[in-house]
Amino acid sequence: MSVVVGDALPGVRVAVVGADHIKIMALILRDPNPIHFDLAAVTAAGLGDREVNQGGVTMAYVINMLVGWTGSRAAVRELDCRFLANVFAGDEVVVGGTVLAVHPDGLVDCEVWADRGDGVRALTGRATVSLAL
């Protein structure tokens, strides 16, 4: 694969974040925070009326993009994400990225992000993947 600085990564679109998926991940993560499964708790926390996606799950959408691009889960070496806004059940999420640096050993540094369908940036970060596998 030929990659140069400035290349856009092939983005990923999550059409709808599923409430059931959020609940499954609450179980997998052993995360007892009710904002992920109890709408009364979401409302009480002042977060609206939809389940809140786990930040790590939004991060996983970025990983999915990187895996789809490189063709391998092992190729994802580093991912550093800052969470900027909540993603809710029913939201659309669009994930993208840009190549920042290409190293001789096949490692590629990228800027990555995840935006909600309403344009709010939910996550921004940096990733390093290997294209030398």
Binding site: M25, P32, G56, V67, R73, A74, E78, D80, F83
Partner: protein, 151 residues
């Protein structure tokens, strides 16, 4: 509100109990489904989703998030935010593998938000190794932000 010196004395450098846990095939499959990822069988190495580093870190650090909140002196008026997460994957997590998790807290920092509020930032460093071979799978650094209330 807890004083920064007290917060640091209780948390900075504190080693958490850690733990040992497995990545069962059925949980890997359920996670792949919920994360909208392809199944592990489609990966060239049959590896688990890289997010399993975070899952292992959260489940294996040896304290629950609620317990971490108690250690950080979180009051009802305070809000816990997941501020930052850094994953470093050394080798892919194996479906069916068993992993040993060790975790240390620190650094602990206090900042003032743009609105003048107090934010305590608590980092937890987690190392994940194969329980069978001792080889590293990766590291995770989670930054939890305690947005302190007005009281």
């Amino acid at each position: 509100m807890i004083e920064l010196a007290e917060l640091r004395a209780g948390l900075d450098g504190r080693e958490l109990p850690g733990g040992e846990l497995a990545v069962p095939a059925y949980e890997s499959a359920l996670a792949d489904h919920a994360l909208l990822a392809g199944p592990a069988a489609e990966d060239p190495d049959g590896a688990a989703h890289p997010l399993w580093l975070l899952i292992l870190a959260m489940r294996g650090m040896g304290v629950t998030v609620d317990e971490l909140c108690a250690l950080a002196g979180k009051c009802a008026e305070d809000t816990l935010l997941f501020g930052n997460c850094s994953l470093s994957q050394v080798r892919p997590v194996e479906v069916g593998g068993t992993y040993r998790v060790s975790a240390t807290v620190g650094p602990v920092n206090r900042k003032t938000s743009r609105s003048g509020g107090v934010l305590d930032i608590v980092a937890v460093w987690v190392t994940i190794r194969s329980a069978d071979t001792g080889e590293p799978a990766g590291t995770v650094v989670n930054e939890f932000i305690f947005k302190r209330g007005a009281t």
